[in-house]
């Protein structure tokens, strides 16, 4: 009840006004909530939300607290003694952290472009065309997405690193290891099944009439796909793209094991963050600062695209 209502004459019209004055505040709340349960739910929601958000955000705040600490300091206080942003500059000087970040962003962007392009073609075939072997092929994708990366990893590592022939037929050039290809290719394959499923669902929902109209006007088959189907399925394409981008950016397994340690060898953020651990053992403040910086690109993506992520998943991905 606002202060306005109490001073205003209308406040007197509440019939049990005098009773409430004499009760303890807790009793008043209880009465109020019994009369409007919605209010009680709202308070519960706020309380629950507060607790949940604290658990979500505390670890990030902790990174900040560590980044503020002096080099070599132990027993980091909960509230920083000083606001010292120098760690955020030192990370770029001591280690080529910008390059590590560039490498990671490059991987994520390349994988997203490749997967969207290739999965668009496949999604169109699965979603809008009839052909023999459709179900077995879709099923093979589903089965594939069940396998853990560890199973795919050993032969790929041998093919990229030890020149074991692929398919038993051809050998990859020695130079390929420690180039972006050694990471982009496996992660693309790993992220592809999900993108194909999402795009298949979205493309199949476009009415045939729209595509037919474009075709009658003389658009080619590819033209119809990229000028009609893809733009009309923009939310789905965006969802698939964002999911692929984030999956690649956060990926650990291939990023860690398929690359060298140095930024010039196309090592991603994984190695960038770990670089502080091995070489400058005591500089945890730098590690925390580097971690915060590395979160920025995806945090921006989430802020900008959260509606797309949610609406895309709601409209398509789960309606199989």
């Amino acid at each position: 009840m606002s202060i306005d209502a109490q001073t205003h004459e209308d406040a007197e019209t509440f019939d049990d006004r005098d009773d409430e004055e004499s009760k303890s505040p807790i009793k008043q709340w209880a009465d109020d909530w019994i009369r409007n349960p919605e209010k009680a739910y709202a308070v519960m929601l706020v309380f629950m939300g507060g607790v949940l958000l604290t658990t979500t955000l505390f670890p990030l705040y902790w990174l900040f607290a560590v980044a503020m600490a002096e080099p070599g300091q132990s027993n980091i206080p909960l509230i920083p003694n000083q606001i010292d942003l120098s760690a955020f500059i030192v990370i770029f000087q001591q280690v080529p952290f910008a390059r590590f970040m560039f490498n990671s962003l490059f991987y994520a962007t390349s994988v997203t472009v490749i997967v969207l392009l290739v999965a668009s073609l496949a999604g169109y075939a699965f979603g809008r065309l009839d052909f023999r072997g459709k179900m077995p092929l879709l099923f093979s994708l589903l089965v594939l997405s069940f396998f853990p990366p560890a199973t795919l990893f050993i032969p790929l590592f041998r093919a990229f690193n030890q020149q074991v022939p692929m398919l038993g037929v051809f050998t990859l050039p020695v130079e390929l290891y420690r180039t972006p290809g050694a990471v982009i290719a496996p992660i693309s394959a790993f992220a592809m099944p999900l993108a194909i499923f999402i795009l298949t669902t979205f493309y199949s929902q476009i009415p045939d009439g729209l595509e037919d109209a474009a075709r009658i006007e003389g658009t080619t088959r590819f033209g119809a796909l990229f000028r009609v189907i893809v733009p009309l399925s923009a939310p789905g394409v965006a969802t698939a793209g964002i999911l692929t981008f984030i999956t690649t950016y956060v990926e650990f397994f291939f990023s860690f094991l398929m690359t060298g340690d140095r930024a010039s060898d196309w090592a991603p953020i994984v190695n960038g963050v770990l670089a502080f651990q091995t070489r400058y053992t005591t500089r945890y403040d730098l590690q925390a600062a580097a971690s915060l910086v590395a979160i920025i690109p995806v945090a921006i993506l989430v802020v900008v695209a959260q509606e797309k992520i949610i609406s895309g998943l709601t409209q398509g991905a789960l309606k199989e």
Binding site: A119, A122, P148, A189, P231, A299
Partner: protein, 332 residues
């Protein structure tokens, strides 16, 4: 979209000619043409490695030399893994005599991790999803804050928990030790490390669970709630008879995804500084076989196939359960 630009940008003669050529293909041939690039990548980067790993798992480890495979060994690698008789193994996969503590056996450690983390993520994820669905001012910001942990690179997630639990440094080490919950070196103790890794995983992936559950909640027909209001249903009844049954299938799919993810846990173990020697997951075993003191490729491949088998078993259990519960819900 990048895809559009790629094509409209280079509308050269070659593309145009290829376009006319595709016009004359039958629907079937056109479909196969469209599928070729995707399946070519999958063939090289997924199907072939799978087949190859499966084949490798039947060959003996070659300890001396450059890590090449030994001769055909049949099921020996599997037998050794499942009976803990591989003298060179960096950790135990399964010890049938149970001499080795459960958490030091890769199979049980991973199963326990998967069950605990998925249960935790489902509960938290459901709460998050409700919070993301409710209408209030500032919902956009709350949604962003909930989603962010999911978008944080695994190595950084590990770093956060490493910094929290490092002895003499982290905030939580001393209090947890003084109430007797953790030892003085939590990152080097199997039980403590297991707890840290599980908490770290729940922290990050509850958000993903929440996204999937939210998708389910949003697709529930709102008219049903209006009907429920007219009939005077309580909040609990609305949840019990409308929300839960309708979200249940999505919940199962989300849990299935997460279980698959949890069974392949590796990154968070390495990056929290707990390490594979303290908390050996099944994937840990594969990498340790490969990059350990001697590269044991046969055993590594066998272990990786066993992970796939365990994942496959879990998927079948889920599918049977989904089928059974669908029948139950129909009756209810």
């Amino acid at each position: 979209m990048a895809t559009e630009q790629g094509h409209t940008g280079e509308s050269g003669g070659l593309i145009a000619r290829a376009g006319t050529w595709t016009e004359n293909l039958s629907e079937q041939a056109y479909a196969y043409l469209l599928l070729t690039p995707g399946f070519l990548i999958l063939l090289l980067m997924a199907f072939w490695p799978l087949g190859s790993a499966f084949r490798m798992s039947f060959f003996a480890d070659q300890v001396v030399g450059t890590g090449r495979l030994g001769g055909f060994a049949g099921l020996e690698n599997y037998v050794r893994l499942l009976t803990d008789t591989n003298a060179l193994a960096p950790a135990t996969f399964l010890d049938p005599s149970f001499q080795v503590p459960l958490l030091e056996q890769a199979l049980f450690m991973t199963l326990l991790f998967a069950i605990l983390s998925v249960v935790g993520e489902t509960i938290l994820g459901f709460l998050y999803a409700m919070l993301m669905k409710a209408e209030y001012r500032g919902r956009r910001a709350v949604r962003v804050l909930i989603i962010i942990p999911w978008a944080i690179p695994i190595v950084i997630q590990g770093m956060i928990f490493f910094l929290m639990f490092r002895p003499g440094y982290g905030l939580l080490t001393d209090p947890l030790q003084s109430i007797g919950l953790f030892s003085s070196l939590p990152l080097n103790t199997t039980f403590d490390g297991f707890v840290i890794v599980t908490v770290a995983d729940v922290w990050k992936t509850s958000a993903f669970m929440a996204l999937l559950i939210l998708a389910g909640l949003e697709s529930v027909n709102q008219d049903l709630y209006n009907v429920a209001d007219v009939m005077g249903a309580s909040r609990w009844q609305r949840f019990r008879y409308i929300t839960f049954p309708l979200v249940f299938p999505v919940l199962m799919v989300a849990m299935l995804f997460r279980t698959m993810g949890a069974l392949r846990v590796y990154g968070i173990i390495e990056s929290t500084g707990v390490g594979c020697t303290t908390v050996p997951s099944m994937t840990c075993l594969v990498t340790q076989f490969m990059f350990g003191s001697s590269a044991l490729y046969g055993s590594a491949a066998a272990a990786s196939v066993l992970i796939a088998v365990v994942v496959g078993l879990f998927i079948s259990v889920y599918l049977v359960f989904i089928k059974m519960s669908n029948q139950d819900l129909d009756l209810a």
